[in-house]
Structures are given as structure tokens and as C-alpha cells.
């Protein structure tokens, strides 16, 4: 039996109107549906996060302005401000992306857009991971704000070496982790499991679908 022989039978179902009935009164009264509601909720969550990032930037800016020098706490504040700016930019990008979601786009394009919107939590985790090698920045600012001490001049030389080396090591590890955590590598089991834990099964499935589409281009 050839697939082409089925086309006519298949298309005859278009006129089989008994199988599906639509409530015409309700149809056009719908202002929003579940998918749109979910996207709208995401947009509000991103706006709130954006405001939080903006507040962090303002606070760190004030902190830098009060002691504009080359001290360890000020440099730390600059480093953390950069991360907050990246976070804020990411949030703005997400808000723009959500407002541009268009279900009439080609399937592969829309699925990628939805993946990018849904993977926000993963991106946020990546941002936090990126700041891990700079963990001393948190320590320096913490000491300065809570105890009023600039910790750096009190550190012994070998401790500075240990902290510097551990930061470099962490930088190498987090860079590897961050480059691997992408839908391109969804077939790698630890990548799949990490994404599943951070964002859930839906994103894993979506990543597999996009990967499947893209593999046909390779």
C-alpha cells in the first residue's frame, strides 16, 4: 500500500464536521489563552527581576561612588555591577523576546524562541555560575559593609596565591560547564540531567526537538 493512496481518504476528513464542534459564541470572546497567560506571567516575572537587578546596580553604584579608589571592595563592587548589568540586559532581552513570540512563524524558529524564553532560569543559573570564580568579590564587599574592614591588605601573600589559583581553577571549570550546557549537547546525559533539574522535563524535550531539526541541517 502506497502512502499517496491515503491522501484522498485523509483529506475527506476535512468535511467530517460531526467529529468536532465549536462553540461559536465563546470562540471570539476569548481574550487570552493558557499559553498567552503563561507568557504574560513570564513577562511580569522578568520585569520584577529586572527591577531587582536595577536596584542592585544602583546600590553598587552608590557604594562605588562613596569610595572611588582602587581598593579591593571597590573593584569587587565593579565586578559585581558588571554581572548585574549582564543580568539586567538579559532580562530586557527576554521581555522583548516574549513580546515578539509569534505562533505564525516557521515551527523551528518559534520552538527556538520558546526555548530561549523557557530557558531563562538556566541562563540565570549560568550567570550565577559565572560569578563563582569571583567569589572573593562577595567576601571583600561583605567584610567592608558588615565589619567596615578592607580585608585585602590583611591577607598574607600565600593566601592571595591560593585564592587566585582557586579562582583560576573555578574559571576553567565553570567555563567548560557553561559552554556544555546548551541544547546542542542535549544527548550528553549529564547535560540532559542538569537541564532537567534546573528547568524541567519540558525544556529537555524542547531541546531534543530543536536538536533533531538542526541535525537535519548538518
Amino acid at each position: 500500500m502506497n502512502l499517496d493512496n491515503f491522501k484522498e481518504t485523509w483529506q475527506q476528513q476535512n468535511s467530517d464536521t460531526a467529529a468536532i464542534t465549536i462553540n461559536q459564541t465563546m470562540l471570539t470572546d476569548m481574550k487570552v489563552n493558557k499559553q498567552m497567560k503563561a507568557l504574560n506571567n513570564m513577562k511580569w516575572a522578568r520585569i520584577i527581576e529586572g527591577v531587582a537587578f536595577f536596584a542592585i546596580i544602583v546600590l553598587l553604584g552608590q557604594y562605588i561612588a562613596t569610595d572611588f579608589s582602587l581598593s579591593a571592595p571597590t573593584i569587587s563592587a565593579v565586578v559585581l555591577t558588571i554581572f548585574a548589568i549582564v543580568g539586567l540586559a538579559g532580562n530586557i532581552g527576554q521581555i522583548v523576546l516574549i513580546s515578539k513570540i509569534d505562533y505564525a512563524k516557521p515551527v523551528s524558529q518559534l520552538q527556538k524562541d520558546i526555548y530561549r524564553v523557557c530557558s531563562h532560569k538556566l541562563q540565570l543559573t549560568k550567570l550565577l555560575l559565572m560569578s563563582v570564580p569571583f567569589y572573593l568579590a562577595y567576601v571583600f564587599i561583605g567584610f567592608d559593609v558588615l565589619v567596615g574592614i578592607d580585608l585585602f591588605p590583611h591577607l598574607e601573600q600565600h593566601m592571595i596565591w591560593i585564592y587566585s589559583l582557586s579562582s583560576l581553577l573555578l574559571l576553567a571549570v565553570t567555563t567548560t560547564l557553561l559552554t556544555k550546557l546548551h541544547y546542542d549537547n542535549i544527548e550528553i546525559s549529564w547535560v540532559k540531567n542538569t537541564i532537567r533539574v534546573i528547568v524541567g522535563e519540558r525544556l529537555v524535550n524542547m531541546a531534543q526537538f530543536i536538536n533533531n531539526i538542526e541535525s537535519t541541517h548538518r
Binding site: 483529506q11 476528513q13 461559536q24 471570539t28 498567552m36 515551527v107
Partner: protein, 168 residues
């Protein structure tokens, strides 16, 4: 006098509701899921209707939106499916697929076969059965025409083997 937008949309949906039926039956396992997905497809259509360009074939535009909704919707938490249709007034009613005895054996087998395909191949198969040209399928899905041809050829081969084994 021009018909109001609501009327035009309702007429278009009535005319093409077979597309919704085919997609929900190909992508969903049970009746509650099918009904919930059909509702999502129809409301997304309505929300997108303002941007519909008359120069394009309505059924192709409708297929693209319906497939996008089905593919992005289907993977949601299954726990909420069922509750949704119980709690809400029904916008759409889908007849219980398993009880449609009048549906031909061939069509039922075809649905069973489509159900076994992966998400992308399901979409290709649905568009192919509607006699959409390869470049239109490629454009709707965002893949190349060659890939569409390759995938269809593989699907045909698999289907042939499957039907031979069932002696159809």
C-alpha cells in the same frame, strides 16, 4: 457590506476545523488532552488572526499555528490536563476517537502510525497528507526542501513495511 472580523473568523474555523481534529488526534493520547489542545489552538488562532495575510493560503497558515501550539503545548505538565476540561466551559468538543466506528480502518491505522512518529515527522506527515508541496512544508517547518524529501521517503518506506506486516 463587509462581514465583521468575528464572523469571518468563525466561518473560517468552521470550514477548516478538520485540521484541528487531525492535529489533536495525531499529537494527543487521550480525549481530555485533545480537547484542551483544540481549545488552545482555536484561541491562539483568534489571537493571531489580526496578523493573517490574505495573500497566503488560510489552511497553510492555520496548519503552521496549530502545529506550533501542539508542539509547544504537548509537553506541559500532564497533571493539569483533565482538570482544565473539567473546570471550564467547553469551547470545543471532540468526539471520542476510539468510539468512531464509522471511521475507516485505513484512517485508524494511519493515525496509529502517525502516533508512533517523532514530533517533527508527525508534522511532516500531516502536511504531506494534505498534499502540501515540499517547499511549502519546508517553509512551514523551517527546514530545507531536501530534508523534507528525505524524511518523507523514509516515512513512506517505514509505513510500507508496517502495512505489509499488517497485510493491508
Amino acid at each position: 457590506m463587509n462581514k465583521p472580523k468575528k464572523t469571518l473568523f468563525a466561518e473560517a474555523m468552521e470550514q477548516h476545523k478538520g485540521i484541528v481534529f487531525k492535529i489533536v488526534n495525531s499529537y494527543c493520547q487521550n480525549r481530555d488532552e485533545r480537547q484542551d489542545l483544540a481549545q488552545e489552538i482555536l484561541t491562539t488562532m483568534w489571537l493571531a488572526y489580526d496578523n493573517y495575510d490574505n495573500e497566503h493560503k488560510f489552511s497553510t497558515w492555520m496548519y503552521r499555528i496549530a502545529l506550533n501550539v501542539a508542539i509547544s503545548y504537548y509537553r506541559k505538565d500532564s497533571k493539569r490536563i483533565g482538570r482544565a476540561s473539567e473546570d471550564e466551559e467547553c469551547l470545543v468538543h471532540i468526539a471520542d476517537f476510539s468510539q468512531q466506528e464509522e471511521r475507516s480502518e485505513e484512517v485508524m491505522l494511519l493515525y496509529r502510525f502517525i502516533g508512533q512518529l517523532d514530533t517533527l515527522n508527525k508534522a511532516i506527515m500531516l502536511l504531506y497528507l494534505e498534499s502540501e508541496p515540499y517547499d511549502s512544508i519546508a517553509h512551514s517547518l523551517g527546514i530545507s526542501k531536501t530534508n523534507v524529501a528525505t524524511r518523507i521517503s523514509r516515512i513512506k518506506e517505514t509505513l510500507k513495511k508496517q502495512f505489509e506486516s499488517q497485510d493491508v
